[in-house]
Symmetry: C4
Subunit: 273 residues, 4 copies
């Protein structure tokens, strides 16, 4: 065993940092709803990773239940590694509240601008959902071929960065680009970003995660249908209206609740990708 002045100082630093960590009771004073929401947000990160919608990149946020001008988003970290301690609070200009020098996602402006423009939205997912990318770089529109993706009806708009900012790094790294993306999104649940990924929005985090997953699943089914050739029958907007009506339910065992329980269990399994 060696004794090193620098090492002793590092150890002392550890001790002091440990004593400085909030003991959890501070965060709980915000109320049990906030804690439950943060747990759901962490779960959402893990689920999206486990389901292959996000990999090392991508992020998911929720609007703050107590203040519509704030949202909760993890510090910059791969979604599969996010824990409750990583969740940070931001304002709608993308500025971190109590940042404490933690790294932040450079594309947090996607979330900020959606929450500004969409009062109906309380959760946002940004991902590099792999099978939607081909639809973002070709002229074939992403349209729903399965009940579970009916919310995509009639079709998904594509945001092209070059239209608003010319040649860039193709990332939504400021409010202006975020606003432009949100304009293309309009009042819809999903928009693609050319050569980049998608943004998926919804009224709560569980339904938004379901939308993100079924958008990916639907993209795969549509890709296969296109390869078969010939006319394709899409889910009609009329059908979507009636299908969506049954989705708001939080009744145990039905719709989003049924799959959320399953995805939660799958996420606790060792990730096998």
């Amino acid at each position: 065993m060696t004794c090193h002045p620098r090492r002793l100082l590092a150890s002392l630093a550890i001790v002091l940092a440990t004593l400085a960590i909030p003991d959890g009771r501070a965060a709980a004073q915000a109320g049990p709803d906030l804690k439950a929401l943060i747990d759901d947000l962490v779960a959402a990160n893990r689920i999206l990773y486990r389901q292959g919608v996000v990999d090392g990149f991508g992020h998911v946020s929720v609007r703050h239940p107590d203040n519509p001008n704030r949202f909760l988003l993890s510090a910059a970290k791969a979604p599969g590694r996010v824990t409750a301690e990583d969740i940070m609070e931001f304002d709608l200009d993308g500025k971190a509240i109590d940042g404490r020098d933690r790294p932040v996602y450079s594309e947090r402006f996607i979330h900020a601008e959606v929450y500004k423009a969409r009062a109906d939205v309380n959760a946002v997912v940004h991902s590099h959902s792999p099978t939607v990318i081909p639809f973002s770089v070709t002229k074939v529109p992403l349209r729903p071929v399965h009940n579970t993706a009916s919310f995509l009806a009639p079709e998904v708009p594509v945001f092209e960065m070059r239209n608003v900012a010319g040649m860039t790094n193709n990332l939504v790294t400021d409010s202006a680009r975020g606003k432009a993306l949100v304009e293309v999104l309009g009042d819809r649940p999903v928009a693609l970003l050319r050569g980049h990924g998608n943004v998926v929005v919804g009224p709560d985090v569980r339904r938004t995660v379901a939308r993100a997953i079924y958008t990916e699943v639907n993209a795969r089914m549509l890709l296969q249908a296109v390869s078969l050739g010939g006319p394709i029958t899409f889910i009609d907007p009329e059908e979507n209206k009636l299908i969506e009506a049954g989705r708001g339910t939080r009744v145990i065992g039905h719709s989003v609740d049924r799959v959320w329980q399953m995805w939660l269990e799958e996420a606790r399994v060792e990730p096998a990708r």
Copy 2:
């Protein structure tokens, strides 16, 4: 043959352990057949999930061995999470016997109407089998290209909800829709539901699960064959007759028994999807 003191002791241990095993009759006052059937039904749920035929949605049932006007189906739950305690009994109007306020699958009418119309059927699977969906929304018929899916010969009919009920939520949520689906199914083992999934039926649960799995496998092979271009050689209905003749066997090691054992073991493995 060798005689070994240690071996004799081991054998004695086996004998004693065997005598100590609960004989199962306590749980089987409904009869050992019913308990074994429920175990198979639970296994079927887990297997179909593990094999990627069902995900959070989908369900499998068996006709009640003691009453042809009843069937067994889980309470509404993702198939991968179903246990023996979840299995409920229903009549052929889809009404739960002893429901005890447990949530029920809204599409139990698929099962009910099949059992009404098909005296030859004792098991039913409804799934969103992913690779069959493209065949349900295009004009390319799902036909068998592999021995294991010969039962699909000559081709699989597609049920279009709009033909019977106009614009709906595209779910089989009542007897009338169930009857319409069963009419399209006719005397065949599989029918597709446009933009939704399929129904697979058979004389017992193990063969029906095999049919559901091999329908999905065959869909993938046919998709690939179509992408190669040119004429395709399908399994002929004549060949199917001869292949099916060898499928009824319950002889150990053959046909359905061989794969069922393997699928059972795979389902006990931590689900890696």
Copy 3:
């Protein structure tokens, strides 16, 4: 605890069977080479299952090292579940030596007829290798696009059962059908069976397993190349001659040895398919 006459008899049977099992030394008297070969054969079964070449169906054999008119093949069982105790011996008419009523593969005639016709072959794999099936039912020949599958040059012949036996169950269930298949195989390493699978042969079990795996891998690459459209550059038979020359080596770390070690480790991992 209950006491049951039938149960006691069953336990006694277990005791007697246990005492009757060869204690391993009997089998070892055939020499350490045979034991090592049986271990490799069991490993081959597990590897082919783990790599997705076989699923519940399919089998692999080796020619008996001490008698060229015999071969070793498992009793009828899913390959992923085969153990050393399952390995049986057969003559070239497909008759089991010391069968002891164990179930046997109905298609053992594939192996028997190959060993009859091909003095250069000491291992045979029959599988439903999924991605080769599309090539067996279309007019697109399976040809090598990658170094590791160079042995497929110039192209793989397809056996059509209807040409030799009209409408059948499309299984090689007797010597006559086996002979017809072997005639199509000729002196090549692989032949497809239309709508069924393939047969892969080689000078030893490790190289034959490698051939079976890389045939599947190559089929996937070729399928993708065909979907890109346009002319395809295949591995030339001249290149194959030079590549094959380097494959016979058993030098540690090279060629087949390198991948065999890796496949062995992967097969010991919990199967995640």
Copy 4:
């Protein structure tokens, strides 16, 4: 901040444990940088295997930090099995320093010739990245469709062995073939080898591994885009310039660091392929 007796004890424990950790200098007489680099190189092997870029074949090297005319590469072994003890040193003629009769990769000349020609390169990956193979045997160029693969802009050159050495075993098994490959690579990050695989180079091992992985991911997306038909929008070289500018950062939580941490964790999981 709260003060808790138990917390103080835990902190003390941390201090004592920290002091007890071996300081690594014993193994690092070559310097702590070399040990850290070797650890990264071993991790790179495991990560590339876990991500499906390499299987039993393929290898990754780094230029020696203390001598630009030397590089570090594992002894011949499947990448998923490489450990720190396998790492060997080579000169730029592909000759092993202190070989000790360990088997060496026959294609080490790929690495040697890249280091000779490219002063900007400090890491090299050679793989049989499966989805790039179709692009190596057809006339469809591999071009970037996603931000993460922008470095492929404008397109990836293909090395054809027959152009330099006629019919061969299609392996880069000497300096002359290595030089010819490097000439085709030019100043680019990736080149394909027809019917064989690719070579991926970069300024450090973490970025090079990321390039190798995202080349494979991009190939899959492009394959799907091509199957959709019609014009495709590629990442423009101008966009790549701006995207690459953000990649050099080693800032915690961003870019390569974020995904490297995730890939490291995935590689420690039991390989599920």
